[in-house]
């Protein structure tokens, strides 16, 4: 639980962003070479930061139960593999997940507020949130109203986030910006600032339903928003990169960014998450390759 002692009610002034400059900075992160011990440590970190996710119309009890088991048992053939940070499901599946994970430290995150489009009334969004919290969700992943944002109604977006935060109670709030719909980095920065100042605990790139999602350029922009807020207020905000990160290499580059922009205090799953489904197995294959020296095959790693 975290207390924000200074939540400003003003819509902050965001700096302007030069996209070409961002591309260059990102390229420097991507040419960092992570090998040996630092790679092993990094990969373990990545695993512990994953929110294993299933958000499909065809989700069932069975699917969720199996995913929860995988969350706690990524690859029992090897010792010392950490558990993931959380599972992420629809509100209707929260209770099931909560039950499966009751003896572990894996959290249950629930999407809410008319995920993924958010095209519904505020009243319904708050009801959705409260239901998920009552069912036992530790974290709520909400979506902002992109339509309102793109027409410049920033105060509406701000107030909506603040209202959902209140409905969360003790649950931590992640605010999904859906960066693929915001398109420009200027918009991503502005949306990040609004979400942070309105009370979010985490800012999150995407719903995972559209591409592009968590590109390095977008994640960079959001990390910078977190950095500026921290410099201004001393308050830490978390970051979740969701969608499009399917390889260990990409995940490691993201950790490089977190380290160089925010510092090692953010290198834990309390402050950084990966929203991913197929990432875990790629990381596992890399870890096993480091141990054995041999390239791996998908056949040897369970998919659920």
């Amino acid at each position: 639980m975290k207390i924000k002692s200074q939540i400003s009610n003003k819509i902050p002034v965001s700096p302007s962003i030069d996209k070409v400059g961002v591309e260059e900075r990102v390229a420097r992160f991507q040419s960092r070479s992570i090998k040996n011990e630092s790679k092993k440590q990094g990969l373990n970190m990545v695993l512990s930061m994953i929110d294993l996710t299933t958000l499909e119309g065809k989700d069932t009890e069975g699917k969720v139960k199996q995913m929860c088991y995988k969350a706690m048992h990524l690859h029992d053939h090897f010792e010392g593999i950490p558990q993931v940070a959380a599972v992420c499901v629809y509100p209707s599946m929260v209770a099931i997940a909560k039950n499966e994970l009751r003896n572990s430290s894996v959290k249950v995150a629930s999407v809410a507020t008319g995920f993924p489009s958010g095209q519904t009334s505020l009243a319904l969004k708050l009801k959705d949130t409260k239901f998920a919290v009552e069912q036992g969700a530790d974290e709520i992943d909400m979506v902002i109203s992109r339509g309102k944002f793109l027409t410049g109604e920033f105060a509406y977006v701000f107030d909506e986030i603040a209202a959902v935060k209140e409905a969360c109670g003790k649950a931590r709030l992640k605010v999904i910006l859906e960066t693929g719909e915001l398109v420009t980095l200027d918009n991503v920065r502005k949306a990040s600032d609004i979400a942070i100042y309105a009370g979010s605990d985490f800012i999150k790139t995407s719903t995972g339903k559209i591409q592009p999602a968590a590109t390095m350029q977008v994640t960079y922009t959001m990390l910078m928003a977190i950095r500026d807020y921290y410099d201004e207020t001393g308050i830490m905000i978390g970051m979740k990169a969701a969608g499009g990160i399917s390889t260990a290499k990409l995940a490691l580059h993201n950790l490089v960014m977190v380290k160089e922009i925010l510092g090692t205090n953010w290198l834990s799953n309390e402050w950084f998450r990966f929203g991913a489904s197929s990432l875990a197995n790629d990381v596992l294959m890399q870890l096993v390759k480091i141990e054995t020296g041999v390239y791996q095959s998908n056949d040897y790693f369970s998919i659920d």
């Binding site: 400059g21 960092r32 308050i235």
Partner: protein, 492 residues
């Protein structure tokens, strides 16, 4: 502020996460123990049989022995160049000349990694720089100029175009292979032959280029490489049978050369030093500007003639910029150039490190406030941490003289007039940077700053098509683009 932590991993494990050493493999490169001079398509021993050692500035280990060319050797080289020019190169159809130059470009691309490793080993620049910037630009420069060889009429319509003959070229140690490309490619495309002297601390990639030139089948004598010290360079400058001198290096030596050429008919171009202003306005995209500052002065250890070594920040955002700059500097790694994670490599030589340290002392004596981030510096080799000087005045020595190291002086300004005047208030005029979100302000600044290259919302961008060169004491003549051809042609 209360924080309650609930995590899966021990906090200590992640607090110390840093990058393990990631050394570039070097077992695939081929270096001879001893290099002779490349004259008339052959490797010949220097007439006085003198050699000198070239070392790796990262650890002071010897890499190879290099021949020291005497006045007689230079004479041999010029004779070979003249013979090749008269009998072969000037008679060859331009489209065939082009094909040789294309071959050189393609062969360089094939051996790019080897070039990058050797460049880093000898010059001290990071392998990331060599691999991702220097070597590709060098290859591209040859490829670009190859295409001009048979199109010179278009570059200078309505003029009679003739090649000059033999070009004598002297290049510096900060971009060894790239400078060789910038000199040789346009000279050949314009139909000249070449005698080139690389800097004494960085001869190897020029010599490897000579091997490529051999492989390409380029007729003997068209390109000659004579290694050596200042005397070798003087012998080139003073040789009576050279038609054109091209020099890139310090302003002091440039003036010596220009004086030596008075009364001769030799054409000359000089690309000299700089003390370029990097100007940040209040409405700049702040984080990208900070990156541009870092790129402008710490890239290549600050051994860049056009380095943005004078920072001018508009007063309203000075505090923010400086804070962010210091934060950004925390993640710059100083270390072994061959480590892929190094951002700032070794200083090229002991002499250069001493020069830099001299200026650091001057800066402190002048009362400026020095800032260097905490970083681990290797025990052997020549290194300098990235450095900021705050509270610097326009009249400070460190804000006027070229330091040629990773040292940035910071001044503030209030209005556009003021910064234009201050930026121009320098005997140099090589480059400038302007950071603002307002397009009309960009064009205002770019039209008023007296510098040959102006980077708006970017810094240190180079391209074979883009002319590069300075105003005032930063030299004259342009390299790159269509404009770079005129230096090597007689236009009447």
């Amino acid at each position: 502020m209360i924080t309650f932590q609930l995590i899966n991993m021990k906090k200590e494990l992640n607090d110390n996460w840093d990058y393990s050493s990631s050394l570039e493999a070097i077992n695939h490169i081929q270096l001879k123990k001893k290099y002779n001079l490349f004259i008339d398509g052959k490797w010949i021993a220097p007439s006085k049989n003198t050699y000198f050692k070239t070392i790796n500035p990262a650890n002071e280990e010897t890499l190879a022995e290099i021949a020291s060319a005497s006045k007689e050797d230079v004479d041999l080289a010029v004779k070979a160049a003249r013979k090749a020019y008269t009998n072969v190169w000037s008679k060859m159809p331009a489209s065939e000349r082009a094909k040789y130059i294309y071959r050189i470009a393609r062969l360089m691309q094939e051996r790019a990694r080897e070039f990058a490793v050797i460049e880093s080993l000898e010059s001290g620049k990071t392998i990331r720089e060599s691999r991702d910037v220097d070597i590709p630009l060098a290859c591209n420069h040859f490829f670009y100029y190859a295409g001009w060889a048979d199109k010179l009429d278009y570059a200078f319509p309505n003029r009679k175009i003739e090649s000059l003959g033999v070009a004598g070229q002297i290049i510096p140690w900060n971009f060894p292979l790239l400078m060789a490309a910038w000199k040789i490619a346009p000279a050949l495309a314009a139909g000249n032959t070449v005698v080139l002297k690389p800097a004494e601390t960085t001869s190897l990639t020029a010599l490897k280029l000579a091997e490529i030139i051999e492989e390409s089948g380029l007729p003997p004598g068209v390109v000659n490489i004579v290694t050596g010290f200042g005397e070798t360079g003087a012998a080139i400058v003073n040789h009576p049978d050279i038609n054109k001198i091209a020099f890139t290096g310090s302003t002091a030596v440039g003036k010596i050369i220009q004086k030596a050429l008075v009364g001769t008919s030799k054409k000359v171009t000089l690309e000299l030093g700089g003390k370029s202003a990097n100007i940040i306005f209040e409405d700049a995209p702040i984080d990208q500007a900070v990156e541009g500052i870092v790129n402008g002065i710490f890239f290549n250890q600050g051994h860049v003639c056009c380095a943005g070594s004078r920072l001018y920040v508009q007063e309203g955002i000075a505090e923010k910029i400086i804070k962010k700059l210091k934060q950004r500097m925390e993640s710059l790694y100083v270390g072994d150039p061959l480590d892929k994670n190094t951002d700032i490599g070794a200083i090229n030589s002991k002499e250069q490190l001493q020069t830099i340290e001299k200026y650091l002392k001057i800066g402190l004596d002048e009362g400026a406030e020095m800032y260097q981030p905490k970083c681990t510096i290797p025990k052997k080799g020549f290194y300098c941490a990235p450095t900021l000087f705050l509270n610097v005045a326009q009249s400070s020595i460190i804000a006027q003289e070229e330091i040629f190291g990773p040292v940035l002086t910071i001044q503030t300004f209030r209005t556009v007039d003021e910064v234009v005047q201050k930026a121009n208030n320098s005997p140099f005029g090589l480059a400038a940077g302007v950071w603002t979100d307002k397009g009309s302000r960009i064009f205002n600044l770019t039209s008023k700053l007296r510098a040959g290259v102006i980077w708006a919302n970017c810094y240190n961008k180079f391209d074979p098509t883009s002319p590069f060169g300075g105003y005032k004491e930063s030299g004259f003549g342009r390299e790159g683009g269509l404009h770079g051809l005129s230096a090597y042609l007689k236009l009447s």
